[in-house]
């Protein structure tokens, strides 16, 4: 019970005439009420038994965990793995939760519940201490005569400014050995590279692509590169064949398809998800992340969703043996629209 007047205590003790009082007073603690366990020995015993029970639950849980660990091993079947996981998790849960619940129940029912106030003083230092600290700084500056010695000041500022470079330069330098960012705008597709199936790597003959087919395509030369997965991430292509009468081709792109077979980058121009939900009747290609929809019959034009440019088209043709090959790399950067800035 304290008697100080805290400025944060807003409990009005008015005279009842509707006006606010001149000052607020601390109401102090509510009167202490005894719990049942404090007054009734039976209730006290019962609370103790409940705490013991909760600790018992924890003990049983831990023993159950150990028994399950020893006897119910995950086997070959999904069912046995599931049973093992379930028993281990249940044992662990009971073992931990029992201890926590017992401790809380113990503290709430059996330990004393008297409210205690902690006195706090203001955090700010006294005016004398603060003035002395400022004076110390001023004395130090005057003693170093930094105001008069200009060269010394310049040397110190230079040394302090340069010192962090010994940390920053190696850190930034190690970020990448190659600062040629223009390579992000290119892929490994090139003239004459065969279109192969993902993941088997079989080259695809044009005659095998029936109308309505969707092929997931990687470059045939993928494995020749040092980081094939990195290259694959940029070079993946979705290739479909539709009735050539359904195909609308932009001027300048007439030679990019082969008898209704068109190939487009599979990297969405919105934020780069693999866009591959192809509906063969509508020729729409849907991106599963944000529902951008592209019309493959019309130059992969965006017909719905947040993407704001068409998927880049891979110009294709057929080589002497009937295999589909690329005419060149994509003529624009693949991936999110950030790369429009480079155009």
């Amino acid at each position: 019970m304290t008697d100080h007047n805290s400025s944060t205590d807003l409990t009005p003790r008015g005279g009842g005439d509707g006006r606010l009082p001149a000052r607020f007073t601390d109401p102090g603690h509510a009167p202490h009420k005894l719990r049942r366990a404090d007054v009734d020995p039976d209730a006290n015993k019962r609370a103790e038994r409940q705490v013991v029970l909760l600790f018992g639950v924890s003990i049983l849980g831990t023993i159950g965990f150990l028994v399950a660990y020893a006897l119910v091993r995950p086997g070959e079947t999904i069912g046995s793995m599931r049973l093992s996981n379930l028993l281990l998790g249940l044992g662990l849960f009971l073992g931990m939760f029992g201890i926590g619940a017992a401790a809380v129940h113990w503290a709430k029912t059996l330990m004393n519940d008297h409210e205690v106030s902690q006195e706090r003083h203001t955090l700010i230092s006294s005016p004398e201490t603060r003035a002395a600290a400022v004076q110390d700084l001023k004395d130090g500056a005057a003693d170093s005569s930094i105001g008069r010695r200009g060269v010394l000041k310049g040397a110190m500022v230079s040394a302090l400014a340069l010192a962090p470079l010994s940390i920053a330069v190696p850190l930034i330098g190690e970020v990448g050995e190659d600062w040629d960012i223009s390579k992000f705008g290119r892929t490994i597709w090139a003239k004459g590279v065969r279109l192969a199936q993902d993941p088997s790597g079989r080259p695809i003959r044009a005659a095998e692509v029936t109308i309505g087919s969707a092929f997931h395509v990687i470059p045939d030369n993928l494995e020749e590169f040092e980081h094939p997965l990195d290259e694959k991430a940029k070079a993946i292509v979705l290739m479909v064949r539709m009735d050539p009468r359904d195909l609308k081709e932009a001027p300048g792109r007439e030679g990019w398809s082969y008898e209704g077979i068109v190939a487009y980058s599979k990297v969405c121009t919105h934020v780069g998800c693999p866009v591959a939900l192809y509906e063969q009747q509508t020729h729409h290609l849907l991106c599963p992340c944000h529902q951008s929809t592209f019309d493959l019959a019309d130059g992969a034009k965006v017909v719905f969703g947040p993407a704001n440019r068409p998927l880049p088209q891979l110009p294709i043709s057929v080589d002497d043996e009937g295999y589909l090959v690329a005419q060149s790399d994509f003529l624009e950067p693949v991936g999110p629209s950030y790369w429009e800035r480079l155009k």
């Binding site: 999904i78 029912t109 095998e208 109308i211 087919s213 969707a214 063969q280 509508t282």
Partner: protein
């Protein structure tokens, strides 16, 4: 069974197993080969019956000679596999126009479906109904099937085949109850919005691997309840409502004074 299990390490166990396997293979071969020969004999009668069924059930939309109308495509050259897929799953005859034909209890008996398939197959060359061996999940490699499924199927049908939404009311159905034959037929014919996966795209062995992977998903997940395997929506509902709810309840209990 115990006696069998006790002797599984017996010296002659491999020989016995080999003999059993040979017997089963031979038995299956004997069972399958004459049946296809029988089908060839019955074809003429089947085709006639199938033609009658076609006139009664399909011709309104697909035309008297299956040549197609402005409401429905031509069925010449779609093959027996397409008919078996569409009719045995109840998608055809179609109940009502909509974004896509929905699966429902089949409207024709198995014999009628077979006759209808024989009739449509007689109109032009198309994919045939796969044999039992072609779709036997036990002979497929589920690990290779997983790679193929992830590349070719998972974007629409979900990573374990739980299905997913497409555009404008269309959707890729869940594969939990699809029979291996129906899955094979869907790949080879490309029904509705689904693209075609012909034998050059996914070889018959690769199709069997995919079927093997899909059927392996029906054993459930080692992690416990799958909540429909639908990902963040159902799992998030569970975590936020049940999980956070329990945490709030615990906090209230800890903060409440003992009576």
């Amino acid at each position: 069974m115990k006696a069998l299990a006790a002797r599984r390490h017996h010296r002659s166990a491999p020989v016995v197993l080999l003999l059993l396997a040979l017997l089963v293979t031979g038995g299956l071969y004997a069972a399958l080969v004459p049946s296809s020969a029988g089908a060839a004999e019955a074809t003429a009668r089947d085709i006639e019956y199938g033609s009658e069924l076609f006139q009664a059930n399909c011709a309104t939309c697909h035309g008297m000679n299956a040549e197609g109308t402005q409401d429905a495509p031509s069925l010449i050259g779609v093959g027996a596999a397409s008919v078996d897929f569409q009719v045995s799953t109840g998608r055809m005859p179609m109940e009502a126009n909509g974004p896509q034909a929905l699966a429902k209890p089949p409207q024709l008996t198995d014999e009628q479906v077979a006759a209808l398939a024989a009739y449509v197959a007689s109109l032009g060359y198309g994919p045939a109904i796969p044999t039992a061996e072609q779709v036997d999940p036990a002979e497929g490699d589920p690990a290779n099937g997983m790679q193929l499924f992830r590349t070719n199927c998972a974007m629409c049908h979900n990573a374990v085949g739980a299905g997913g939404a497409l555009s404008e009311g269309k959707f890729a159905p869940a594969l939990w109850d699809s029979t291996p034959t129906v899955i094979y037929e869907a790949m080879v014919t490309g029904p509705q919005a689904m693209p075609v996966f012909n034998d050059a795209n996914l070889t018959p062995e690769e199709k069997r691997d995919v079927i093997s992977y899909i059927l392996a998903q029906r054993d459930g997940s080692p992690g416990g309840i799958e909540l429909g395997a639908l990902g963040p929506v159902s799992e998030g509902m569970w975590a936020w409502i049940v999980g956070i709810g329990l945490l709030v309840a615990c906090s209230v209990w800890i903060g409440a004074k003992s009576s």
